[in-house]
Amino acid sequence: MNKPLENASRPNAQDGDHQGVRAAVMGDLKSTLLLFLLLVVITGLIYPLTMTGVGQLLFPHQANGSLIKEHGRVVGSALIGQYFREPEYFWSRPSATSPMPYNAAGSSASNLGPNNPVLAQHVAARVKALKAADPAEKGPVPVDLVTSSASGLDPDISIAAARYQIPRIAKAGGINPTVLQQLVQKNTHYPLLGYIGEPVVNVLKLNLALHARYAQKHPEANPVTH
């Protein structure tokens, strides 16, 4: 296994022979560059393009963004959250993307440190806005509803955050709370084995279900496009 050092293809490469050392180095440079280019083609073109082909063939829905379509139009992605602020819809988590919330062309967190006074101000203001939208609700606010997510595109809220909003939506949208409870249940995703991930409610799917109900109720006046 342990053969002598010299490179058989270049017999000139002997110790002390200046020309030979130079030839050996040039030879090594050539082999190194050739290997680099070869691996560039394999890992940078063949591999990703093959995976793209395989993905489009086996998992076309997921590979193209898990898009949700209504009447032939793309209304969003099941994996990317959207911004909702009308009281008759479930609100998503605060988003720190710019220039507008839930900008899916540029994910971003707030990056506010835990002791930064600005963070405390933001949280206090969000708590205030939630209480103002539903003065009857006296309980403490679930933390995920007043903190910005890591991506600014979080598609989910916790079950606690969904339940917290039900009284407000019931009143503003005129829907029976039990029905809302069932809708939340239907759009809840439970983690594998109960602990690989967290149980979450998909806000866009939930609100699309609400949207369909509102459209049925008032076919003329859609509550959000007034």
Partner: protein, 584 residues
């Protein structure tokens, strides 16, 4: 906390169970054995050798091997730099991004060849698909392979004796990419795509929202959703301990990490190859007990720090309690803990676990905003990097550095009992200790001097985002991470400036090559020595006492070097009274 404990236990058990066969598999690959994998991939492997004019029988001494590593990385750096500058004129650019600015292109090229993957740019809105594939993905493979290729001659130096030959760089590189990294990446890409990670060459999606809203005086009717060839890049980025995300928010962006399962697997694969390499070491040296001792030492360092981080993240932010917010973490309702900068599907506990894994390994990926971690949890991120990326560490490079610490521990043990120190049958002399010391001490110098420069210059302080002690932590992090080839960041710091591009660029280069070239020289010296059979005076390297000694050495070096700096940053912030913070 119970489900987080379950998750952590499952993670470690699954990784070790997969790491054992991976180690055996890699042993067969690097020994050039004929088995099912070589029957499958052998033709491609042999064709490669024919094209570049080499064969496994032709071996190199350490200098020639090291030179090949340097040339290979130099070629990679230049290629990436030019590609980024020119991307505006090249194909696969559906969003028509222009060329990357030279300062950022330099920083990125250095960052990705050194396996750091520090990003001064925002991935999804800067890089063309061609740059992501031909630039970023390529270096994800090649810089990871370089780490493994650095480790192999060091292990061989213990196996062989009276020889200068340490292996053939091109063969080791080819086998690593072909037999280890590509097959694992293909499998992992498939799982990721099934779970929802995107993989397409199409440009952004324009979704017509059912609830348009106004922002900044404009009515927003559409959501522009960036997509791309993500799964193929995501898989190798995690497996290869790269960590530079396709999108700005890395593994928090749902298209990179859509479910609890992908989050678990992404956490797991960060330690998979490092653990597999520990078992490869056991296979190659036939010192399986020592391999287990290495793994146990790593776990002794990893588990307590992880549990502390998880505890603080799940307990939440004490300030929020006073604002009428509940941070209770019920398994059934979820959403508790410090949720600022955390995704709901992942949760605070799994985010803390991901953070410690990403900093214990040199991955530096992030599924949450590290800048918003509770101060002490952020401090644990810093400390895990400052230990020198030896707790699992980078693929290959981590174990190489760990072996350096073990040699140092052997040396100390030898001094204590008054015997010539030896490790795996090789006598450790003055030259070996010099090389080990050089390798261990370069990084603290880079971090402490670099942070001092940042903290004392206007340009350094200008990038700081958060006030007070946290601002110092941001600067300390911005130097610690590149110097250890980690790449994670406290994201608030503005790092795409001439100052930080240059500072972090230098830290990455020296942190990679000054740390590992001495270890290759060490390998060269060790391989030439004869193998001494273990005698009665030989210090056994698998006993609890030796594990304690090694862990002690690692902790002592890390703590002595960095405790003063940590005291000024995360520790000071953790101890700051809440009332002081709430003065608004």
């Amino acid at each position: 906390m119970i489900s987080t404990l379950l998750l952590t236990t499952t993670l470690l058990v699954v990784t070790i169970l997969l790491g054992i066969p991976l180690g055996v598999y890699m042993h067969r690959v690097y020994a050039g054995e004929r088995f099912w994998a070589s029957r499958l991939l052998g033709p491609v492997e042999r064709l490669t050798y024919r094209l570049i004019g080499t064969s496994p029988e032709r071996e190199m001494d350490w200098k020639r091997y090291a030179l090949a590593i340097l040339l290979f990385n130099l070629a990679g750096g230049l290629f990436l730099y030019i590609l980024l500058l020119l991307q505006g004129h090249l194909p696969f650019n559906p969003m028509h991004f222009s060329g990357v600015a030279p300062g950022s292109a330099f920083n990125t090229a250095v960052s990705f060849i050194t396996n750091t993957n520090w990003q001064d740019y925002s991935g999804g809105s800067t890089m063309s698909y061609l740059s992501q594939m031909l630039g970023i993905t390529v270096q994800n493979f090649l810089s990871a392979a370089t780490g493994i290729v650095i480790l192999l001659p060091i292990i061989r130096a213990f196996v062989r004796h009276n020889t200068k030959n340490l292996g053939n760089f091109w063969v080791d590189m080819t086998r690593t990419v072909l037999y280890v990294l590509i097959p694992l990446s293909v499998i992992f890409s498939l799982i990721l795509m099934q779970q929802g990670v995107v993989q397409t060459l199409s440009g952004a999606i324009h979704a017509d929202m059912v609830a348009p809203f106004t922002s900044g005086g404009k009515t927003i009717l559409q959501q522009v959703i960036h997509i791309g060839p993500v799964a193929s890049q995501e898989s190798i980025m995690m497996l290869g301990n790269n960590g530079g995300g396709f999108f700005n928010m890395n593994d928090a962006q749902p298209f990179e990490n859509p479910t609890g399962l992908t989050n678990f697997l992404e956490t797991m694969v960060m330690i998979l190859i490092p653990v597999g390499l520990v078992f490869l070491f056991g296979q190659m040296t036939k010192a399986k007990k020592t391999a287990w001792a290495i793994l146990v030492s790593m776990l002794i360092l990893f588990i307590p720090l992880t549990l502390v981080s998880q505890h603080f993240e799940l307990a939440g932010n004490p300030i929020f309690h006073q604002l009428g917010v509940t941070q209770a973490n019920h398994a059934a309702l979820a959403g508790g803990g410090n949720m600022e900068g955390v995704e709901d599907r992942i949760g605070a506990g799994a985010s803390a676990l991901f953070a410690t894994v990403a900093t214990a390994t040199s991955t530096g990926a992030a599924n949450n905003a590290y800048d918003s971690l509770i101060p002490l949890s952020g401090g644990i991120n810093l400390f895990l990097m400052q230990l020198g990326e030896v707790v699992f560490g980078g693929v290959g490079s981590g174990l190489a550095s760990f072996l350096a610490f073990m040699i140092f521990a052997v040396f100390l043990g030898g001094l204590m009992v008054g015997r010539t120190p030896e490790f795996l049958g090789k006598k450790i002399g003055a030259f070996e200790i010099k090389m080990v010391s050089l390798s261990i001490l370069v990084m603290p110098l880079l971090v402490l001097i670099g942070t001092a420069i940042a903290a004392t210059t206007v340009a350094g302080r200008a990038g700081v985002f958060n006030p007070g002690a946290h601002g110092f932590s941001e600067m300390l992090y911005a130097v610690t991470s590149p110097a250890n080839n980690n790449g994670s960041a406290f994201g608030g710091l503005s790092n795409d400036t001439r100052f930080y591009n240059l500072l972090t660029g230098m830290c990455m280069l020296f942190g990679r090559f000054w740390v590992y070239l001495p270890l290759l020289a060490l390998a060269g010296a060790l391989a030439e020595k004869k193998k001494t059979p273990a005698g009665s005076g030989t210090l056994a390297t698998h006993t609890p006492i030796f594990i304690g000694l090694t862990v002690g050495v690692i902790l002592l070096v890390g703590a002595l070097n960095f405790f003063p700096a940590l005291a000024l940053g995360p520790i000071a912030e953790q101890l700051a009274p809440v009332s002081h913070v709430m003065t608004h």
